[in-house]
């Protein structure tokens, strides 16, 4: 047999029958099935069923422990019967995942109290209160967007847009985690790509929480907190969600809030997470109208955050900018890695 050294061409197997056109064998007819594949699929569907049942009966798991348990259970279902090496990599991934969230929680705490850097000097807690409000007022020609939206739309009774705003707000607690878990199960390479961008976003956000602790709009108008920059804002981000029957959510949310840093307004992680997920999947979405539609989600999120009094507009814009920066940085780094490896191959062959 001889081979060509011309520019190679990919041959469609359906049109290229070798050696006189004999029928070619499918690999599946030669290689035994992975018997655990069916088990994994069945377990993942069972998990989905139990998760939805839990969501309806107990509420949305949003505190870190519950989320970690639900992710761990999903991964157990998704990795049954995989090789020991795959399990080892999964454990390393999980360790990285836990360290990332622990670092995030610690930094949130540090932002609450000020930070001592290596025992040498102290970064005091300098709360941003009026600066962020003033930026918003400049962008909106002297108006406070939070106040304008609540004055126009907030009513005693829950309206349809409260349900939309509240549900959009709540997706923050599950959407990126669901994406991570699914990517973990279907493509480790894509999981790594997502986590690079996600952890960079989280790291920059935590740094900003420490350097620029910022009072959110609900607090800046609350007489209890002593600011009252303008008329008090209503604060009940969960009311639309409760309105559609997810009662179990509320108590978990209070536990979450009690552990959180109330001054972590800038940047808005709600806005960042709402952008990172559609932005990550954008290359796989073909129709332009669908791309535009998924990019409406972060806009919806920011609108909801402003309406619910949770964030200033500038918080969301900075969150988007950091997300864009993380994508720019890692796209560039990954391209450089591919070029470097390709050049090594070319040099070795030359």
């Amino acid at each position: 047999m001889s081979t060509t050294s011309e520019a190679p061409t990919f041959v469609d197997p359906s049109t290229s029958l070798p050696f006189g056109g004999a029928t070619r064998l499918q690999l599946r007819s030669i290689v035994p099935d992975d018997e655990f594949r069916v088990v994994r699929l069945a377990l993942m569907f069972q998990f989905l069923f139990v998760y939805l049942w839990w969501l309806r009966v107990q509420g949305l798991p949003i505190d870190r422990i519950s989320v970690a348990i639900s992710v761990a259970l999903f991964l157990l279902c998704a990795f049954v019967g995989k090789t020991w090496r795959t399990w080892g990599i999964l454990l390393l991934d999980c360790a990285f995942y836990c360290v990332m969230w622990l670092a995030y929680e610690r930094t949130r705490g540090a932002a609450d109290e000020g930070v001592t850097v290596f025992g040498l000097f102290q970064i005091p807690k300098q709360l941003q209160v009026e600066s962020v409000r003033n930026i918003d007022r400049v962008m909106f020609f002297g108006h406070d967007p939070n106040a304008v939206l609540q004055d126009a739309f907030w009513e005693r009774t829950v309206r349809w847009y409260d349900v939309v705003a509240s549900t959009t707000y709540m997706t923050h607690f599950v959407l990126p985690i669901v994406v991570m878990a699914v990517l973990w199960a279907i493509s480790h390479r894509q999981w790594v790509r997502f986590m690079k961008r996600f952890s960079m976003l989280l790291a920059v956000a935590c740094l900003m929480f420490v350097i620029l602790p910022t009072v959110p709009p609900w607090m800046a108008t609350s007489p209890k907190d002593g600011y009252q920059l303008f008329g008090e804002l209503h604060r009940d981000a969960g009311r639309g969600f409760r309105h559609i029957g997810f009662y179990g959510f509320d108590s978990d949310y209070k536990i979450q809030l009690s552990n959180g840093n109330a001054y972590a307004a800038l940047p808005s992680l709600h806005s960042s997470f709402a952008l990172i997920v559609p932005a990550f999947f954008l290359p796989w979405i073909r129709p332009k109208w669908l791309k535009a539609l998924v990019l409406l989600f972060p806009v919806m999120m920011l609108t909801a955050l402003v309406y619910l009094g949770e964030h200033w507009v500038i918080d969301g814009l900075v969150g988007w900018a950091i997300t864009g920066g993380a994508f720019w940085f890692w796209n560039r780094m990954e391209r450089r890695t591919r070029v470097r490896r390709s050049n090594r191959a070319r040099e070795a062959l030359s």
Partner: protein
């Protein structure tokens, strides 16, 4: 599903690239350079069975196979290879198992047996 299509560099192809004295070295190198170009523009991923690659180069990425990802072989893959219908050649069977389990549809190979399967094979062979 989300990754670019994988091209599996089969043992005979790896050996042809690694050994300049191999009769197929020129053809392999030309094909490989084209594949590397496609890898660089993220059209494809290059993969090889880790044991086949390990025989030729180390685990680092500082050699001619720097762009190639390893498909790590576990005991379950060897068991599946032993139970396959081509079990008489363990390494060839292992290649088929790894191709099937990792949804590989294109294989770079000089082994004529690979053309008996529903795979896109490169380089394109001309039958004398």
């Amino acid at each position: 599903m989300m990754d670019p299509p994988k091209v599996l560099l089969e043992q005979s192809f790896l050996q042809a690239i690694a050994d300049p004295a191999n009769a197929d070295h020129e053809a392999a190198a030309a094909e490989y350079l084209d594949l590397v170009g496609r890898y660089e523009s993220e059209e494809i991923l290059l993969v090889a069975v880790h044991t086949h690659l390990g025989e030729l180069v180390g685990l680092d990425r500082k050699h001619v196979f720097a762009p190639v990802d390893r498909l790590w072989v576990g005991r379950q893959h060897r068991r599946a290879a032993a139970r396959s219908l081509v079990a008489d050649d363990a390494e060839f069977a292992l290649t088929l198992v790894m191709a099937e389990r990792h949804r590989v549809r294109t294989v770079a190979s000089f082994d004529p047996r690979i053309r008996d399967y529903e795979l896109t094979v490169v380089p394109v062979a001309t039958v004398d």
